[in-house]
């Protein structure tokens, strides 16, 4: 009997193809929008997360803090209050740290012969390459024995911009500073890495810390300190060890900032999740509108088929079989529309993902939810028309012209 009702529902859906198609369209667009938005969002947040955790989630950043900002005044960066001495002390007293480096950082123009480009100049300890997992493609990284020497390691894009495929190793490049040009010999080029959290190594050049301090920055202070813990579980311990040290030094927690990779990651995930939910919700509204469209069509269909309902009742159809038949119609419509919507959504997501270079993540749970929601919409918006059909008075229904 269910099968017969199903066949009958299909037949009546097929008998009005244009109308069925149009009412399906609403649901299809809704489902496609939800799928596209959610899978793009998930893909985006996955790739951001992956990029951050590729640094290892046991990285900790220590930066100068911000003060003020109360009573409507803008917060001011404290300026460079950290120095190399802090790095040494932390290395000594913070047992959870495996490695630490001061960082001097600024934007400068870099020259090779006639060509120039802007690079992030980084003065760092050699341990940075290990900590940030930066691999050298050509030449070698600098070592502790290179401290004070005029050597430089180039990021992938800087090397490409200045040398255009030539081998930079052994060549001299110049960095423009406030006091004139400083020359450095290229000893290595990094592999392409992509944006990391605080900077993009591809657009950076790396100098030994002392070299950078004397030749370019002319300061005893450091821009930031990057530390790495022995293991991931020690991140929290390390953060409090560093905090202990810095608080003793400054007696003011606003003077410095300690951010762990883990903390950034969890904040980011939260933000992304909220964003995804919001966008998905907005797309979901179109699903709701589609559902109302289905209800509208089903109500028209019930009215149109009033006489048919009367006839069926007269020959023995029960209320529940009439209800079931109309309900099946709306569920079939939304189910088919949902499947088409999923395919369309996946297609759009992949297309857009390729355009903006985001890997798309279509999880089974998204598909299940989309299917569930579209069937739910069919059920929800189909119930009222179907109920109305089943409750029609057979005598009135038979008289209906």
């Amino acid at each position: 009997m269910i099968f017969e009702l199903f066949k009958e529902s299909l037949r009546s859906i097929m008998s009005n193809k244009t109308r069925t198609f149009l009412s399906m369209l609403g649901i299809t667009i809704g489902v496609a929008a939800v799928i596209a938005v959610v899978s793009l969002g998930q893909g985006a947040s996955e790739s951001v997360k992956k990029r951050i955790s590729s640094l290892g989630s046991n990285i900790i950043f220590i930066t100068p803090g911000r003060i003020g900002g109360a009573g409507g005044r803008l917060a001011q960066a404290v300026g460079n209050v950290l120095n190399e001495e802090d790095v040494r002390k932390m290395k000594q007293f913070c047992y959870s740290l495996s490695n630490i480096t001061p960082v001097l950082q600024k934007q400068s123009v870099i020259l090779f012969e006639e060509k120039n480009t802007i690079a992030t100049v980084m003065g760092v300890y050699p341990s940075i390459f290990d900590m940030m997992e930066l691999k050298v493609e050509k030449g070698r990284p600098f070592l502790e024995s290179d401290e004070g020497k005029r050597v430089i390691v180039l990021g992938e894009k800087i090397a490409e911009d200045l040398f255009e495929g030539e081998d930079p190793v052994g060549q001299k490049v110049y960095i423009i500073t406030s006091t004139g040009k400083q020359s450095f010999t290229v000893i290595g080029v990094l592999k392409k890495s992509g944006q990391l959290l605080f900077f993009n190594p591809d657009n950076a050049v790396f100098l030994p810390f002392k070299t950078a301090q004397y030749r370019i920055f002319h300061t005893k202070k450091v821009s930031l300190i990057v530390a790495k813990t022995i293991s991931q579980d020690l991140t929290d311990t390390a953060v409090s060890e560093i905090d202990d040290y810095l608080y003793k030094k400054f007696k003011d927690e606003n003077m410095y900032n300690i951010v762990s990779q883990e903390a950034i990651l969890s904040t980011l995930s939260e933000t992304m999740a909220i964003l995804n939910l919001t966008l998905g919700g907005i797309a979901g509204i179109s699903l709701l509108v589609g559902g109302i469209g289905i209800m509208n069509i089903m109500l028209v269909s019930v009215t149109e088929r009033t006489r048919e309902i009367g006839i069926k009742k007269a020959i023995g159809a029960t209320n529940s079989s009439i209800l079931l038949q109309f309900l099946m119609e709306s569920i079939i419509i939304t189910l088919i529309a949902g499947i088409v919507g999923i395919l369309l959504g996946a297609l759009i997501a992949n297309f857009v993902g390729r355009m903006v270079n985001i890997s798309v993540l279509i999880t089974p749970s998204v598909i299940m939810i989309a299917m569930g929601v579209s069937t739910g919409v069919g059920l929800f918006f189909g119930v009222y028309p179907a109920y109305k059909a089943s409750k029609l008075d057979p005598v009135d229904a038979l008289r209906y012209e």
């Binding site: 017969e4 048919e308 069926k312 007269a314 023995g316 038979l398």
Partner: protein, 225 residues
Amino acid sequence: MVVLENVTKIYKMGSEEIKALDDLSLEIRDGEILVVMGPSGSGKSTFLHLVGCLDRPTSGKILIDGKDISNLRERELARIRNRTIGFVFQQFNLLPRLTALENVELPMIYAGIPKRKRVERAKKLLEMVGLSDRMKHRPSQLSGGQQQRVAIARALANDPKIILADEPTGNLDTKSGEVVINILRDLNRKGLTIVIVTHDPDITIIAHRVIHLKDGKIIKEEVRV
């Protein structure tokens, strides 16, 4: 056997109450052909709807095989319409999207009869009304007389005890009407009870009993032999 005891049916039209049937008592005997005549508005259709379990009386009792249908649930009424009663309408009331065969199958679907058995019986019934060559046709491809014969085959699908016909010849030409009347008479000879509601005095030829309704009351009853 159908018994009506003091059946009254009142319709409300706005604030006005219309008494379609007024304290009507009647017994429809097994195996008879009962013709109900009367002008429009006399309560003929209401009578048929009540006996056909499409409606319930405002007061009074309607017994079908001893069961009072005024207290039955919707589901049980549907079952009686499906198994015990067969309807034939003036407008034929076939489903336009279905073929003749599928139209005849429909009541059997509601009765839960399996496909093979359904088709077999539907074919036999269509043969019986002389439409074995029209089974795959849709109602729009059939003449009025043919449609009415499909409707009769459909009414017989679940082997009912009683056929209720509402102006069965009302939309037919004389010749087709005669064919339909003859089929009804043949069915009666096989033991079916037939109730026909009509304006058409010609139908009374086959009647065993004719009652005349006016204002919801029986004003005349004739017994024929």
